[in-house]
């Protein structure tokens, strides 16, 4: 069985090895970036305008939470596992991973010969210190909850680490693609984040939190087919109009998150490319399944049939996205069940369920904040209109963005939420739908679901595993307490002097956060 779960960096060998669930087997053969329109060329200076940067940012990956630090982090650091342009998992710093004992024991082998920017060789100690940084008692890392299953870490040799888990998890390596899992150098056994030293394609020359990060190409980068720019400046630009103006006037070459209200005009400008990627980014209207009236399955169904997803897609996302089907598994993910019927707007059926719930007319309050995502309040306003013929009076409770995660999310009974891309179905399901999940935003606790999730983690038979994931998607869709109307694309714009691979990752903005090492200036 051990061999069966081995996943290797060498693409020629990979086909011979059994399928690693998340890697999607043969589908992943398009090696980094997929097909390319033109061969990348080296050189040049590039300026990025990226949102999210704040004076309070630090270099501690445990605190990373937004586009600026992600873009910067992926430029000067690597992770053990990366998500490629086709949204499949690939070993990055690893040569291979190998699971055994029902996926409860994992051996990670590092590629030999990789060095940090200061010349120190990358070893198993750095991996252990990095993981320890997040899981140690007293850890303040946002990634801590991802790794509660790790029971032990053992250094087997200079390049090899063995992880022992509480319970089997075939998707365990996927956790290491998280942007908070940047590999840091160990100093006296403790991960050193403060020095800003990594193994990445760029050396961090200057970091002014909330203002800019300046990076220069790492001449000793271990990858020959990456990191084409000579140097990069990332500017913190929180205002979408400013980013757009800067791009139009040539002050920057790449901007993340185009303003969807004006993107059609931006598209018409010559010299500018508007691009979008699809991933697992999705919006939710999450109810608290433990509180009346949301504990009533029929009311939940009324709310699910009462949303006109198509209208939201066209009006809020301007078509940049896809329809959600009330479960969080995205079409780009492995084990997405395409055959589940798409739920459509059906006021009659919604009314039927409302009656069945014993409620003829009901008044509900949905909390939402402007800063959650573009058009968050607009979407809820539309939803209110769509629910009117059902007999549900939806009150829009607008709350300030400041303090939203503390005071509103998972506090109010019905809240508009957002979830970023996760690498695998298991990651999003165990983050937000497992009974014991810290971020179970809909407070939906279903033992049958938990059993399926657990079984799927250790199921090695592909078709059986797909079946389990299909059952879970159906269960959340029909019984869950979250309306999931939309998957949103990442929409960004770049100068046409910038070249990029045809296949770009939809995990996070700008090619999965890795554009700085994947893109190039056209010759």
């Amino acid at each position: 069985m051990a061999r069966h779960m081995k996943h290797h960096a060498d693409p020629t060998r990979r086909a011979l090895l059994g399928s690693m669930a998340a890697a999607g087997g043969l589908a992943a053969l398009g090696w980094p970036g997929g097909a390319r329109a033109a061969a990348p060329s080296r050189g040049g200076h590039v300026r990025y305008g990226v949102r999210g940067g704040s004076t309070t940012d630090s270099l501690d990956p445990g605190t990373y939470s937004h586009a600026f630090v992600r873009t910067m982090g992926y430029a000067f650091c690597n992770t053990l596992v990366e998500i490629d342009g086709n949204n499949r998992l690939q070993p990055e710093l690893l040569e291979f991973w190998e699971g055994s004992k029902g996926a409860a024991s994992w051996v990670f082998r590092l590629r030999p010969g990789i060095t940090f920017h200061d010349g120190k060789a990358l070893t198993a100690d750095d991996v252990i210190a990095t993981v320890q940084h997040h899981v140690r008692p007293g850890s303040t890392s946002g990634a801590r909850a991802l790794m509660t299953a790790i029971k032990g870490m053992e250094r087997l040799d200079d390049l090899t680490v063995r992880f022992t888990l509480e319970a089997g998890n075939a998707d365990f390596p996927a956790i290491f693609s998280d942007y908070r899992m940047m590999v840091m150098p160990a100093r006296d056994g403790v991960a050193d984040f403060a020095s800003g030293i990594g193994t990445g394609g760029y050396v961090l020359k200057n970091f002014e939190p909330g203002v800019r990060a300046s990076l220069e190409r790492n001449p000793n980068y271990w990858r020959a087919d990456r990191a084409f720019f000579d140097s990069v400046d990332i500017l913190a630009m929180s205002d979408a109009t400013s980013r757009q103006n800067a791009l139009l006037t040539g002050a920057i070459d790449v901007m993340d998150q185009a303003d969807l209200k004006t993107v059609h005009m931006l598209k018409r400008k010559s010299g500018i490319e508007v691009a979008s990627t699809t991933g697992g980014l999705h919006y939710t209207y999450a109810m608290n399944a433990e509180l009346a009236p949301y504990d009533n399955m029929d009311l939940r169904l009324a709310l699910k049939y009462g949303v006109d997803r198509e209208a939201l897609l066209q009006k809020v996302l301007r078509g940049y996205g896809s329809l959600g089907n009330d479960h969080p598994v995205a079409p780009t993910m492995a084990y997405y069940a395409a055959d589940i019927e798409q739920r459509a707007y059906d006021p009659d059926r919604a009314r039927h369920h409302l009656k069945k719930a014993g409620l003829d007319n009901v008044s509900l309050s949905l909390s939402v904040t402007d800063g959650l995502y573009q058009g968050a309040v607009d979407g809820v306003t539309l939803y209110r209109e769509q629910l009117a013929p059902v007999g549900i009076d939806l009150e829009i409770a607008r709350v300030p963005t400041d303090g939203f995660w503390t005071d509103t999310w998972m506090k109010k009974p019905f809240v508009a939420g957002i979830w970023g891309t996760r690498a695998t179905a298991d990651m999003i399901l165990s983050a937000a739908y497992e009974s014991t999940a810290a971020w179970n935003e809909s407070f939906w606790r279903e033992p049958r679901f938990d059993a399926l999730l657990k079984a799927a983690r250790t199921e090695l038979d592909e078709s059986r595993r797909a079946e389990l994931y299909r059952d879970m998607q159906v269960m959340i869709r029909d019984e869950g307490a979250a309306v999931i109307p939309l998957f949103a694309d990442n929409v960004f714009a770049l100068s046409d002097r910038i070249g990029h691979p045809e296949a770009m990752s939809g995990a996070w903005e700008l090619d999965g956060g890795r554009s700085i090492e994947r893109w190039w200036i056209k010759a």
């Binding site: 004076t55 630090s58 002014e208 909330g210 205002d239 139009l248 810290a438």
Partner: protein, 317 residues
């Protein structure tokens, strides 16, 4: 003159008391905001364990009074402390930002103050003429538009044509000429915002004086109108004008965060907004104290100058 020095000393003492009061108010205000630094930094990723760990690491689990006294003790010895969020020394964080903010404020003041005074004088001189009306309408329209909108208009007109950069991306190493060029649009935006107030005050103060008997006397003596205004009216109008200039200067230092965001200018305003959003109390305190000190000092300067400009006060009997 001695009374003047006494006044300055007394006012400085009062200023210190003001700063102390402000630090208490700001600290309590931040305490009252929902959530603390641990929750705001972790955001959606917060779990009870990580929040608790964060709090104990930063000492946020200690009583508020203890934390305030700790901070105040540091300030008394000249130590601003470190930012809880980024773990950087606050003096270092603020140093770069404050020089940018002062640079932009002085730049905008250097354009707007002379411009406002000259326009105000001319408007008073040619009262109710086409020039007066035009100057008033232009100044009032520009002050009525929101700052970000003015910024966008200037970007549309002056940046998209390639004349000036849309991003005022200044760095410490930049030579002065480049800096002036890079920060031209934000300075111009601020000029448009503050000129009207100063210009209108100059005009009003002078017109007010023009009705007084001693001006009539000067006129009757045959003094030319320009000279009447410059030599007879202006010296007596200085006090109100200085006060308005001081208020606007203080605004240029403290109130320009919107312009900073539009032009991506790394000033103190953005630092304050970021720190409030993350409840980074010690940084908020430091920035607020600087802003408050700017107000106190500029007001003091205005009062001193107003006193000096008035011989009756300088040579009080």
């Amino acid at each position: 003159m001695k009374t003047l020095w006494l006044m300055i000393l007394g006012r400085l003492g009062l200023g210190l008391a003001t700063l102390l009061a402000i630090s208490v108010i700001i600290f309590s205000a931040i305490e009252m905001l929902p959530g603390d630094l641990a929750q705001e930094i972790l955001g959606q990723s917060a779990t009870p364990e990580t929040v608790a760990a964060f709090r104990s690491e930063l000492g946020l689990d200690r009583p508020a009074l203890e934390r305030y006294l700790d901070w105040a003790g540091g300030i008394a010895t000249g130590d601003f402390g470190t930012s809880m969020a980024s773990r950087r020394p606050i003096s270092e964080l603020i140093a770069a930002r404050i020089s940018n903010t002062l640079f932009l404020a002085l730049y905008a003041a250097a354009i707007s103050v002379p411009l406002a005074l000259v326009l105000g004088l001319l408007a008073a001189l040619y009262r109710n003429s086409v020039f007066d009306r035009l100057a008033n309408v232009t100044a009032l329209s520009s002050v009525s538009l929101p700052e970000f909108f003015l910024g966008y208009i200037l970007i549309f007109v002056l940046a998209q044509s390639g004349l000036f950069p849309a991003v005022a991306d200044v760095t410490a190493e930049m030579p002065l000429g480049d800096r002036l060029y890079a920060a031209f649009l934000p300075a111009l935006t601020l000029t448009l915002v503050v000129t009207a107030h100063m210009m209108r005050m100059t005009r009003a103060a002078i017109i007010n004086l023009l009705a007084s008997p001693y001006i009539e006397m000067a006129r009757l003596k045959g003094v030319p109108r320009g000279r009447v205004i410059l030599c007879h009216a202006l010296p007596n109008a200085l006090a109100p004008i200085i006060n308005v200039v001081a208020v606007n200067m203080a605004y240029l230092v403290t109130g320009v965060v919107v312009v900073e965001v539009v032009f991506v200018y790394p000033g103190l305003g953005q630092l304050l907004v970021d720190s409030v959003a993350k409840r980074d109390v010690s940084v908020v305190q430091a920035a607020s104290l600087i802003f408050a000190a700017a107000y106190v000092l500029l007001n003091l300067a205005a009062d001193v100058l107003a006193t000096v400009s008035n011989p009756r006060l300088v040579h009080a009997r």
